[in-house]
C-alpha cells in the first residue's frame, strides 16, 4: 500500500494519551519491587481509565496473571512487554480477520456509517484527499439528506479535496442518491466513490433499515458494492462503542473502523474492547479537523506509541 504512515505524527498525538494513561504504567512498574495484587490493581486502573472496558480489562489482567505464572516472571518491568504483547494480539487478531481485497475493485465503493457527530463527513473529506493524492479519480455522494446543511458541508469539503460530488435534495430518499452515485461513477469511470450517510443511533430501527436499503440499492447497481463499509467511531466514546459496532455490523456488515478525534485526551481504548469482542479491524485514525489529519492505523505502531 502506498499510504505513508507517519508514526511520528501518531506518536505526537498519542504522547498526550501516553502521558496521561500508559505513561503511568511505566511509573507504576518503576515503583514496584515485585508483582503483587497492588501492582495488578494499578494496571487494571490504567486500562479502565483508558476506556478499554471492564470485560477486556479483566481478560488482559487474567492473561497477564497467567503469563506471569507460566513464564515464572518476577521482575515488574517485564510486565509491560507482556501487556503490550497482549493488546497487540487482541488488535492483530481482528486486523487479519478481514481481507483488504477491496482495494483492487474498480470502482471501489466505500460507505461511511456511524452515530451522530462522530466525524463521518470530515473523515470522508480526508479519505477523498488520500485517494485523490494517489492519482485516483474520486467522487463523494451526499446521502445525508437529513441533517441541516449536510450537503453544504460535504460540498465545501469536496471542493477542498478537489473531487467530484453527487448532490441531493433535502429529505430526498438517500438510497436513490446512492443509486445515482454508483451509476454516475460507472459512467464517468470514477475509481473511488465515498458515500456519506446521515448520523444515526444504532438503536433506531427505521434508520438502520434505511441504511440497509442504501447498501442494498448500491449492490443492485454494481455487484459487490459497497466493497467497504466503515464505521466512524469517536475516540472519546466509552463502552457504548461496543454496542455501536455490534449493531452497525449486524445491519450493514462493517469492514473497518475509522477512529476519529484521537487528537484529544481520550485514549481510544474502546477499539481494544471492540477488537476483543467483535474482531472488526481499525483502518484509520483521525487526528484533527484538517483534511490531512488522517493516518492509516497500524496496530504495532499504535501499541508502540502507546507505550513509548
Amino acid at each position: 500500500m502506498s499510504f505513508k504512515f507517519s508514526i511520528e505524527k501518531l506518536k505526537q498525538c498519542l504522547s498526550k494519551t501516553k502521558k496521561s494513561l500508559f505513561g503511568k504504567i511505566t511509573e507504576v512498574v518503576g515503583l514496584s519491587k515485585k508483582i503483587d495484587q497492588e501492582l495488578l490493581d494499578k494496571l487494571e486502573e490504567v486500562l479502565l481509565k483508558g476506556d478499554v472496558g471492564v470485560k477486556a480489562t479483566e481478560k488482559i489482567i487474567q492473561d497477564l496473571k497467567n503469563g506471569v505464572k507460566e513464564e515464572k516472571i518476577v521482575e515488574p518491568q517485564k510486565i509491560i512487554d507482556i501487556m503490550k504483547e497482549e493488546i497487540l494480539t487482541i488488535l492483530q487478531n481482528s486486523q487479519t480477520s478481514t481481507k483488504m481485497l477491496s482495494q483492487e475493485s474498480n470502482p471501489l465503493i466505500i460507505m461511511i456509517v456511524g452515530v451522530n457527530g462522530t466525524g463521518k463527513t470530515t473523515s470522508i473529506a480526508k479519505l477523498a484527499k488520500l485517494y485523490s493524492d494517489q492519482g485516483k479519480k474520486v467522487m463523494v455522494a451526499a446521502c445525508d439528506t437529513f441533517r441541516a446543511a449536510a450537503l453544504e458541508q460535504l460540498s465545501i469539503w469536496a471542493q477542498r479535496a478537489g473531487v467530484d460530488i453527487v448532490k441531493s435534495q433535502p429529505n430526498q430518499d438517500p438510497a436513490s442518491v446512492a443509486f445515482d452515485a454508483v451509476k454516475s461513477a460507472l459512467a464517468k469511470k470514477i475509481d473511488v466513490v465515498i458515500v456519506d450517510t446521515a448520523g444515526r443511533l444504532h438503536t433506531k430501527y427505521n434508520l438502520m433499515e434505511e441504511l440497509k436499503k442504501i447498501k442494498r440499492v448500491m449492490g443492485k447497481s454494481l455487484e459487490g458494492a459497497p466493497q467497504e463499509v466503515f464505521l466512524v467511531l469517536d475516540a472519546t466514546t466509552g463502552q457504548n462503542g461496543i454496542s455501536q459496532a455490534k449493531m452497525f455490523d449486524e445491519a450493514v456488515g462493517l469492514t473497518g473502523i475509522i477512529l476519529a478525534k484521537l487528537d484529544g485526551t481520550a485514549k481510544g481504548g474502546i477499539v481494544i474492547a471492540i477488537a476483543n469482542e467483535l474482531k472488526i479491524p481499525v483502518r484509520y485514525v483521525g487526528l484533527g479537523e484538517k483534511i490531512d489529519d488522517l493516518e492509516e492505523f497500524d496496530p504495532k505502531d499504535f501499541v508502540e506509541a502507546l507505550f513509548l
Binding site: G53, N116, G117, A148, A149, Q153, D234, T237, K261, G264
Partner: protein, 438 residues
Amino acid sequence: MFAELSDRLESILKKLRGQGKLTENNIKEALKEIRRALLEADVNYKVVKDFISKVEEKSIGQEVLRSITPGQQVVKIVYDELTLILGKDSSVMKFSSSGPTVWMLAGLQGSGKTTACGKLASFYRKKGKSPFLIAADVQRPAAVEQLKILGKSLNLPVYSSKENPVKICQSGVAKAREEGLDLVIIDTAGRLHIDEKLMEELALIKKEVTPQEVVLVADSMTGQDAVNIALSFEERLGIDGIFLTKLDGDARGGAALSLRAVTGKPIKFVGTGEKLDDIEVFYPERMVSRILGMGDVVTLVEKAQEAISQEEAEKLEKRLREEQFSFKDFYSQLQQLKKMGSLDSILSMIPGIGGSLKGFSVDDKALVRVEAIINSMTEEERLKPQIIDGSRKKRIALGSGTDLQEVNRLLKQFFMMKKMIKDFNKMDLRKLKTMFKP
C-alpha cells in the same frame, strides 16, 4: 449487551438473606457489582472509587430493614445517593434582569451544540421568549448555514457576519438589544479542551458578552475522558450548567455522573433526538436508573420496599378482612410509610384499595399532622375511635397542635375508609367475576 445488574445482584443477595446489620463483609460483593455496573456505564474510574467508598461508609452499621436483604438495602442507598448527587440543585436557566439574556453554548466537536441552540430557542419561545441565534462558529464548514437552516425552520432570526467570533458575538448581542429580542443564544465552534488558542477565544467571548449561562454541551456516549473535558471547560471558561445530548440511544450515560462530580454544575437539559423539539428537562431519577442498568434498579428498590411492607400488609389485610381496622393499624402503616418515603406504594398494597387510589397523591406535610393527631390519642381511642367525643376531640387537637377541624376530618376519613373496606368485603367476588365473563 451488559449483563443485568439486578440478575447479578440477586444471586449475591440470596446468600445474604437474614443478616441484621450491614457490615463490611456482607456488602462487599454487592458493592463490587455496583462498581462494575458504574464502570460499564462509563462513570469515571476515580469518580466510581470515591462514590463506592462513600456508600460503604454510609452503609456500614445501618440496620437492615426487616424482610429485605443487606444487598437490596445497599442498592437502595446507592440509588438514593446517586439521585442526590445528580439532582442537588435546581436546574433553572438564568435570565438577565435588564436587557437581553445571553446564553453561550460550548463543547467538543460534534457533541450537539448547534442542534442544542435550536432546541433551547424552540423550548423557550414556547415560554414566551423571543430568541435570537448567533452563529459564532466560523471553523466548521457550513456551520453558519446549518444554524441558519435551523433558524429558518423555527422562523427565528440568526445573526452571522464575516468578523471573528468575538466580534460576531458582540455585534450580535447589540443587534438583539436594538431589536428588542430578549433571549440571545450563541453557537460556538466545537473545540478540544486542550486547544489553548480556541479555549482562550471562548474565555474572551464570555468576557465580552457576559452571558447569564455558559452551557457545556456534552455527548452522553462519552467515556472516561468526560472528567478531563469537564474539568478543562470549567477551569478555563467556567460553566453554569450542562446539556447532555443523544440520550435517545442505549448509552448508559455514566458521563453524566462524571461531569457532575468534577464540575459540581447541574445537568439542565437532555437531548433525546435529532429534531428540535427533542429536548427535555433533566430528571435525576431517570438518569440514575439508566446508569445502573435501565430500570432494573428501580424495580429492585421497589421490590425491596414491597418486601418490607409485605409482612405488615399481610397482617393488615387480615385485620381488614376481620373489620378490626383501627387507628393503631393506621399508625403502624404510617410509620412504615415514613421509612419508605413513598405513600402511594404502601397504599397500593392495601388490598382492594390500591387500585382505586391510582392517581391519588398525598401531601406529605398533611401526613405529619395526621401522625401527630394519632399520637395524641389514648390507646383506647386508637382501638375504638367511636368513643372519641367532643371533649376528647378538643384534647387531641390541643395535644397535637392541630385544630378541631383537622381532627374531625381525619376521623371522618377513617370511618369512610372503614366503611369502604366493609362494603368491599361484603361483595361477592365470584359473582363479580362471572359478570365480566364473555
